[in-house]
């Protein structure tokens, strides 16, 4: 009994101690980490080196693998700068950045005028890399599939419901198309990929524009349509559903060797979704001064039709010199040496004239 008494007493002493500590923490915390600033003033912790700068970012999931790799490589070269990025989706990324919860954001759809207003103009939009969206399909005996603009818009509109439909067959002479029903697969979650894909569909089809329109999630008109969560969910659904077709980011098709359709571009030519063809699409778009440009329906014979830039959102004024200098150094490296990594991870390196423009914009950060 006696030793238990003591242990209970110690237990309670500990409990009250933690309670007191909690009270202290609650009071101290807001001032300490109110400004998520240069590590040194965050919390007076034991291991924090005063010279280390931490940059926190969140946002689009599409560039996340490339960003995490970039930031890792950059930190190895610059050990005093740590960059942490978390994929939360473009919308959440913009919100967190505007609310000052992060040092930088990332978005597949840049920022709308409305969103820019909420950020009080303290934003620089920087295209960091680009990617393209492919239509992966599941038809075991069809190695090459050509889809006209009417055909793939029609499939997702639900107007074309069978693979042997004349609107598909006429463009694929010599290919034995089965009488399988088409299952269009879309994203069930809100997504920048959906935004880019529906933006393109709106550009090529009046009917799409008036119907589902452009958005991070839309009402999919096709009766047979099914939804999958995230890119890997759509890819998996296509892989196990005969007759399915779905839109995914190129990297997911490239790493799983899924067959993808050749699409008809604005010039009427059929183009396979190679990185070169997507890069050609980008080269036909002139970036305006605010660096917001959407490649909704690119010109050019060799352009693959569905490609997009993805943006990093930085502040114009950080009000903290070390932080501003760190992010400038980071951006400089990503736009320079970092571009070589884009290709390895199946992204599109930015054309030289674009990186030059973006570099200049990055220089204005204070």
């Amino acid at each position: 009994m006696r030793h238990l008494d003591r242990s209970v007493r110690t237990l309670f002493a500990l409990l009250s101690l933690t309670l007191m500590l909690m009270a202290g923490c609650k009071k101290g915390a807001p001032e300490g980490s109110g400004a998520p600033a240069t590590g040194s003033e965050a919390t007076p912790a034991k291991a924090a080196e005063p010279s280390t700068v931490t940059l926190q970012g969140s946002g689009a999931s599409f560039p996340a693998p490339l960003y995490s790799r970039w930031f890792r490589e950059f930190s190895t070269k610059n050990p005093h700068i740590r960059v942490n990025y978390q994929a939360t989706g473009s919308g959440a990324g913009i919100k967190a950045f505007t609310a000052g919860q992060t040092d930088f954001g990332a978005s597949d759809s840049a920022m709308t005028d409305e969103e820019l207003k909420q950020a009080h103009g303290n934003v620089v939009l920087l295209p960091m890399t680009a990617g393209h969206i492919v239509l992966a399909y599941n038809l075991p005996d069809v190695k090459v599939l050509k889809l006209s603009r009417d055909a793939y818009a029609g499939i997702f509109l639900g107007e074309i419901t069978n693979w042997n439909d004349p609107r598909i067959a006429s463009e694929n002479p010599g290919v034995k198309l089965p009488a399988t029903a088409i299952t269009p697969v879309n994203r069930s979650d809100g997504s920048g990929t959906t935004f880019v894909f529906t933006q393109h569909l709106s550009a090529i089809s009046e009917k799409w524009k008036k119907g589902p329109g452009t958005g991070k999630s839309v009402n999919w008109p096709a009766k047979a349509a099914v939804g999958g969560a995230k890119n890997d969910g759509v890819a998996a659904l296509v892989q196990r559903t005969p007759g399915a077709i779905g839109y995914i980011e190129y990297v997911f098709a490239a790493t799983s060797n899924q067959p993808t359709a050749m699409l008809q571009n604005k010039a009427g030519k059929y183009v396979a979704p190679t990185p070169e063809a997507a890069a050609a699409a980008l080269s036909h778009v002139e970036l305006p001064a605010d660096l917001r440009a959407w490649v909704t329906d690119p010109e050019g014979d060799d352009s693959y039709p569905i490609a997009t830039y993805t943006w990093l959102l930085a502040k114009k004024k950080y009000g903290d010199k070390t932080k501003a200098d760190s992010i400038k150094a980071l951006l400089k490296w990503c736009l320079g040496d970092g571009q070589a990594l884009s290709k390895e991870l199946h992204y599109l390196p930015l054309p030289a004239n674009v990186t030059e423009k973006v570099q200049k914009a990055a220089e204005t950060i204070e």
Binding site: L4, D5, S7, V8, R9, F12, L15, S16, T18, L19, M22, C25, A29, P30, G32, S33, G34, A35, P36, G39, A42, T43, A45, K46, A47, A48, T54, Q56, S58, P65, L66, S68, R69, W70, F71, R72, N84, Y85, Q86, A87, T88, A92, A96, A99, G100, Q101, T102, K230, N231, D232, E249, V251, F252, A254, T255, S256, L341, E344, L345, H346
Partner: protein, 296 residues
């Protein structure tokens, strides 16, 4: 279960044969019950099997000592996530255990069936059924928005919201299970009410209380939703700053499982194995505490 076979031999007309319809029914139903029990175990066993096969592949010491790799890189580990999970659970415990235990003592020893007691108990029961993502929303509003950054502390707060009701309700049950006679005896020997509670009732109920604590910890450690937009994730080691984001196993699995890069998917499997192992250790620990013979 099976009827005693000796009865048949012992004599009279009590012989046992499958020809007897009631015996047959008994056997069939017993087999059915055993079969269905095994079937109920099937999901657990198949998950464990898959985890061992796919997650075991990368199991090595470096898995625990190295940081998560970037996309397209080989090697690396999940050390930051293992440490992060432990730290977030620790923060959550520091926040929730005092609260939950003191509330339980109040409910069991002082409140009785009073209005406040009934209300608190009801609130606790409602909280246990609350979707965990709401705990995340709560912590987001309380800590992330007010402090202005995602943080380990916010993750801990979200988890503690999930832990408090479990700790409180199980501890109350354990305290109530202490025989009334022991309280009477203590009071009869001149102990005050507080002394009775602290020196007699709580020590007696300690195994039961600890079980509840461990079950709450096990539940919290496996949660992803409340951490997604509170603790976020970090590709670096924890540096002692509760105000910055922190890695965790659950969020690592969430991030990496959908990756197009096979190596990251493998790491997600390995992380799942480690997480299940951690939860299993806590659960088995709780079972051992229950079974331990008490001194009283």
């Amino acid at each position: 279960m099976a009827p005693p076979t000796t009865a048949g031999r012992a004599g009279n007309n009590l012989h046992l044969s499958l020809g007897n319809s009631r015996t047959l029914l008994d056997r069939v139903l017993t087999l059915l019950a055993i079969g269905l029990s095994l079937f109920a175990l099937f999901p657990l066993l198949s998950v464990l099997y898959m985890l061992l096969v796919r997650g075991g592949e990368l199991l090595s010491p470096s898995l625990f000592t190295e940081l998560t790799p970037g996309a397209g890189m080989e090697g690396g580990g999940i050390g930051n996530a293992v440490l992060g999970t432990l730290i977030v659970v620790l923060i959550a415990s520091v926040l929730s255990l005092p609260l939950g235990l003191l509330a339980a003592i109040y409910l069991a020893e002082y409140a009785g069936e009073s209005k406040l007691g009934t209300l608190v108990r009801f609130a606790g029961k409602v909280l246990t059924g609350m979707p965990s993502i709401l705990a995340g929303v709560f912590a987001y509003a309380l800590v992330v928005v007010t402090m202005g950054s995602f943080s380990a502390l916010a993750g801990g707060v979200a988890m503690s919201v999930l832990m408090v009701p479990t700790v409180m309700l199980t501890a109350e049950q354990a305290l109530r299970a202490v025989p009334e006679k022991m309280r009477m005896a203590a009071l009869g020997m001149g102990a005050t009410r507080m002394e009775t509670t602290l020196r007699v009732v709580v020590p007696t109920a300690l195994p039961g209380i600890l079980t509840g604590v461990m079950l709450a910890l096990a539940r919290a450690a496996g949660e992803t939703a409340p951490l997604l937009f509170t603790a976020l994730f970090s590709d670096y080691w924890f540096e002692g700053r509760l105000g910055s984001p922190i890695a965790s196993l659950a969020v690592l699995i969430y991030n990496f499982s959908g990756s197009p890069f096979p190596h990251l998917v493998k790491l997600a499997w390995a992380a799942s194995l480690i997480l299940v192992f951690l939860v299993l250790v806590l659960n088995v620990g709780a079972q051992l505490i229950i079974r331990r013979p008490q001194e009283f």
